[in-house]
């Protein structure tokens, strides 16, 4: 449905609602949480493979990890979960976890260090998309059984060099750090797949909820685990219904047939805000919207031109119009709420300043192509930028395409300018520092398509070394300062124009308390929710 249709429908619904009142509001059962959400991105529920948003929501509630984030206190960072405590060796390369006693999986099997070792080894050996979160520590399918090993109630992991403990532990809070029930999984192994086919659609966890069913594009049903070591969740059942259309989600919420609507568009959020019995909660998410300038382009690689582009963005205008409520201004590669995040936003919309910088660089009649994926908000940002650039004498040609078309060219370093979004993979600053500001080999042959700096042919200079140092810094405060320094330099020198950070607006019945979508650092949690 296009924007005009959405607008018309939203307007029509708003008018109709304002003229009438809803029928008697229904209520969902007291022991049940009903959520409307788009879950068509779930392709698997195997934590070694799952890497999409809705899939991570399932994992977070079904699987415990060695260490985890508390949904009621996300700022505190990781806390003990299945690992009661840990010790770091003197050389900083081995972490020994002591497992919590008396915890059982949903199957009734005890949770052992052996299960934890198996889970991490399995993720490394299967080498699915999120495996890089673990393999960046030097674990490989070949050495996994030696570097990750269990001994009685202890689990030892040995990295290839010293890393900041916070870096390793933050990564273990990601979905791939989920601990699976070895006995159950291996009982369902087929053709040496370590239970991958079975776990794609089933679960074997020890978390607060058990997966009852996942019907693709239809629903996910979870039932509480009464034996959860942290205490049984208040709500016995969670049903996530796939409701694609925002207006349908809003109607269901206002009628009381669901408790939470997670995908309302700005028009429906505005409408729901005024509805009786409904509240809207904002949470900052990790997704950043940015422009990137290809440094192979002779003009775009000039420092003044890179600076000029940062003044050609109507940050406030966009935030207050078509991005209203959905994004906030943010000009750093670490999202707000991340360790080491900076709240410095020095750039503003200033055509004259941009013109001066372009003149200083000796750039005239510049014409560039910008690649944009076919998403409404991105196209609108592209058009706003095109308009601003025209005022500074730059002709911008917008190429709109599918993910395949645009991403393929971006990864092949062919686009002049790319307008896109990036979300962190795990709750540690390295996740973004390691892609925006790190590029050890800028040659075409390196083919480091996973690094955004490489995709834009940007030799980050000294930043690469500084990022590498920051992941090994053991002192937390020092580490924070290192990232602040890296971002300060990055803001001034990089070819990235970071513009906005996403806000997720969740509408819910006003009796729902403590629901968390996980902010920027993790996924949605249900076990602490009451109503």
């Amino acid at each position: 449905m296009n924007a005009l249709n959405r607008l018309l429908t939203g307007a029509a619904i708003s008018v109709a609602v304002s003229l009438s009142s809803f029928a008697a509001v229904a209520e969902t059962p007291a022991n049940m949480l009903v959520i409307a959400h788009r879950i068509d991105d779930v392709t698997t529920v195997d934590p070694a493979e799952s890497f999409e948003f809705a899939g991570s929501d399932i994992s977070r509630n079904v699987y415990s990890r060695l260490v985890n984030l508390d949904p009621n206190d996300l700022e505190a960072g990781y806390k003990p979960d299945l690992a009661e405590s840990w010790e770091v060796s003197e050389d900083g390369m081995t972490i020994t976890f002591t497992m919590r006693e008396g915890v059982t999986f949903h199957s009734g099997n005890p949770v052992r260090a052996e299960d934890a070792a198996f889970s991490l080894q399995r993720a490394v050996i299967l080498n699915k998309t999120p495996a890089f979160i673990l393999t960046q520590f030097g674990f490989t399918p070949e050495n996994a059984t030696e570097t990750i090993r269990a001994d009685g109630n202890k689990l030892m992991i040995t990295t290839d060099k010293r890393y900041a403990t916070s870096f390793v532990l933050n990564c273990l809070t990601a979905t791939i750090g989920a601990i699976v029930d070895k006995e159950t999984v291996m009982a369902n192994e087929a053709d040496g797949d370590m239970g991958n086919t079975w776990l794609k659609t089933n679960s074997a966890g020890s978390g607060p909820y058990k997966l009852d069913s996942w019907k693709p594009n239809e629903s996910v049903t979870l039932t509480s685990n009464p034996d959860y070591y942290g205490g049984a969740p208040a709500l016995e059942r969670v049903i996530v219904r796939h409701v694609l259309e925002s207006a349908s989600q809003r109607l269901l919420l206002e009628r009381g047939d669901i408790d939470i609507a997670r995908n309302l568009n700005p028009e429906d959020i505005a409408g729901a805000t005024d509805a009786d019995g409904v509240k809207v909660v904002d949470e900052l998410k990790g997704r950043l919207m940015y422009l990137a300038l290809n440094q192979k382009h002779p003009e775009l690689s000039k420092p003044e031109v890179r600076q000029a582009f940062k003044y050609l963005i109507d940050y406030q205008g966009m935030r207050d119009s078509f991005l209203k409520g959905q994004y906030t201004i943010h000009q750093n590669f670490l999202p707000a709420t991340y360790l080491g995040a900076s709240d410095e936003n020095p750039f503003s919309y200033n055509i004259e300043k941009a013109k001066e910088l372009l003149a200083a660089a000796g750039v005239e009649n510049l014409e560039v192509e910008i690649g944009v994926r076919e998403a409404q908000e991105r196209i609108e940002i592209g058009q706003s930028f095109q308009n601003a650039a025209a005022q500074a004498g730059i002709k911008v040609n917008i190429t709109v395409g599918t993910a395949k078309q645009i991403l393929a060219r971006y990864r092949a370093r062919e686009l002049d300018v790319y307008l896109g979004a990036w979300g962190p993979d795990y709750p540690d600053p390295q996740t973004n520092a390691g892609t925006f500001a790190y590029n050890p080999d800028n040659s075409d042959e390196a083919n480091a398509t996973g690094l955004l700096a490489w995709r834009n042919s940007w030799d980050t200079g000294g930043l690469t070394g500084k990022v590498a140092e920051a992941v090994t810094e053991g002192d937390r405060d020092n580490r924070v300062q290192m990232y602040l320094d890296i971002q300060a330099e990055f803001r001034e020198t990089s070819p990235f124009v970071i513009m906005f950070q996403q806000i997720e607006q969740t509408a819910m019945r006003d009796n729902v308390t403590d629901f968390s979508t996980g902010q920027a650092v993790t996924s949605a949690a249900y076990w602490q929710v009451t109503k």
């Binding site: 029509a12 609602v17 068509d40 086919t197 019907k215 395949k404």
Partner: protein, 340 residues
């Protein structure tokens, strides 16, 4: 060698025609799927995957092989009854289709019943009372049915009948209290709840289906009533109708026993086409009403480059059209002696 009996020859010809049609349909869909600017590997591994993970999945999917070889492997599997697994959710495509198709079948059947029950009498009356207020109303109803965007009508219907009046159930096939309450036998909740003898579920499921089915029925009604009116006008101006009237036959008999009898064959085609269109799945209706049917299944699969799912869905839709054609041909023979 003795010549084949006509019925054997006819059956063989029909089967041959089905096979060729299906093969052509699958080939075209397969080629379109491959040239579409969507990367199935990227859809599976995501943007962050390393090149080695990307390459491994690329090989796993057999995308390194020539197109014709890929197609041949697919057809070979289909002949053996294996539609493959969905590239995205790793479930057998046949299981997915067995889950989504009954939802569409249930909705489309109720929809076409609404279309027939209301559309035919409306078309007949409009033809008989040509130019009268009834004819004008029928024309407006049909015009609105043709021109009103279905998503808008659907949302307005939901707002009024569900949101404001509370007369019907909201999006979804059943209310939250009744999810998975009755065992799935046919996959059609109305029928399954009857089999289970669970009236509460039946009533709830009916309250959820009545609005989307009426909406689809309205679109069928618009088409069926206009076509009925047009066919009837042609018959009513024929000489045999004038003769019947001159002979003093009652108007009821003239309309229903003479004129209407002669448009039945044409109407069968119209109804079959209308039903087939509904069975393809109305994507927008399914989206608005969160109805997990085959239309949104195929669309989602297509946009995600999940070709096994797209091709599986195409086989089903193709078979529907072919079977409805065969069924129409059989009814022709029943109603029209010249076709026997």
């Amino acid at each position: 060698m003795a010549p084949l009996a006509p019925w054997i020859k006819g059956t063989l010809l029909t089967l041959g025609s089905i096979a060729v049609t299906m093969l052509g349909l699958l080939f075209i869909t397969f080629i379109i799927g491959r040239v579409m600017p969507i990367d199935p590997v990227l859809a599976i591994v995501g943007e962050r995957a390393s090149q080695s993970t990307y390459d491994a999945v690329y090989l796993e999917l057999g995308l390194d092989k020539p197109l014709l070889v890929q197609f041949f492997y697919y057809i070979w599997d289909v002949i053996r009854g294996d539609f493959g697994t969905s590239l995205l959710n790793a479930r057998p495509v046949s299981e997915d289709i067995a889950r989504v198709f009954p939802a569409t079948l249930e909705l489309a059947t109720l929809g076409v019943i609404v279309g027939i029950v209301l559309g035919i009498p409306l078309g007949v009356v409009a033809a008989v009372r040509k130019g009268s207020w009834i004819d004008q109303i029928a024309r407006v109803i049909a015009l609105v049915g043709y021109s009103m965007p279905i998503f808008w009508l659907g949302l307005m219907g939901l707002l009024i009948f569900y949101g404001i009046l509370g007369w019907v159930g909201g999006p979804g096939r059943v209310g939250i209290f009744y999810v998975d309450v009755v065992p799935s036998v046919t996959g059609m909740i109305l029928i399954d709840s009857l089999i289970d003898g669970n009236w509460d579920v039946f009533k709830d499921a009916f309250s959820h289906i009545v609005l989307p089915a009426s909406l689809l029925g309205y679109y069928s009604l618009a088409y069926i009533s206009r076509m009925t009116r047009s066919f009837m006008l042609e018959q009513l101006s024929a000489e045999y109708v004038t003769t019947a009237r001159v002979k003093g036959m009652s108007e009821w008999n003239v309309i229903w026993k003479h004129a209407f009898k002669n448009i039945r064959v044409q109407l069968i085609t119209v109804i079959a086409l209308s039903y087939a269109n509904l069975l393809e799945g109305s994507v927008l209706t399914e989206i608005i009403f969160s109805w997990p049917g085959i239309g949104s299944y195929i669309t989602t699969a297509l946009l995600s480059a999940d070709m096994n799912a797209v091709l599986g869905g195409t086989v089903v839709v193709g078979l529907i059209f072919i079977l409805l054609n065969i069924f129409s041909d059989l009814l022709y023979k029943v109603f029209d002696p010249r076709a026997r």
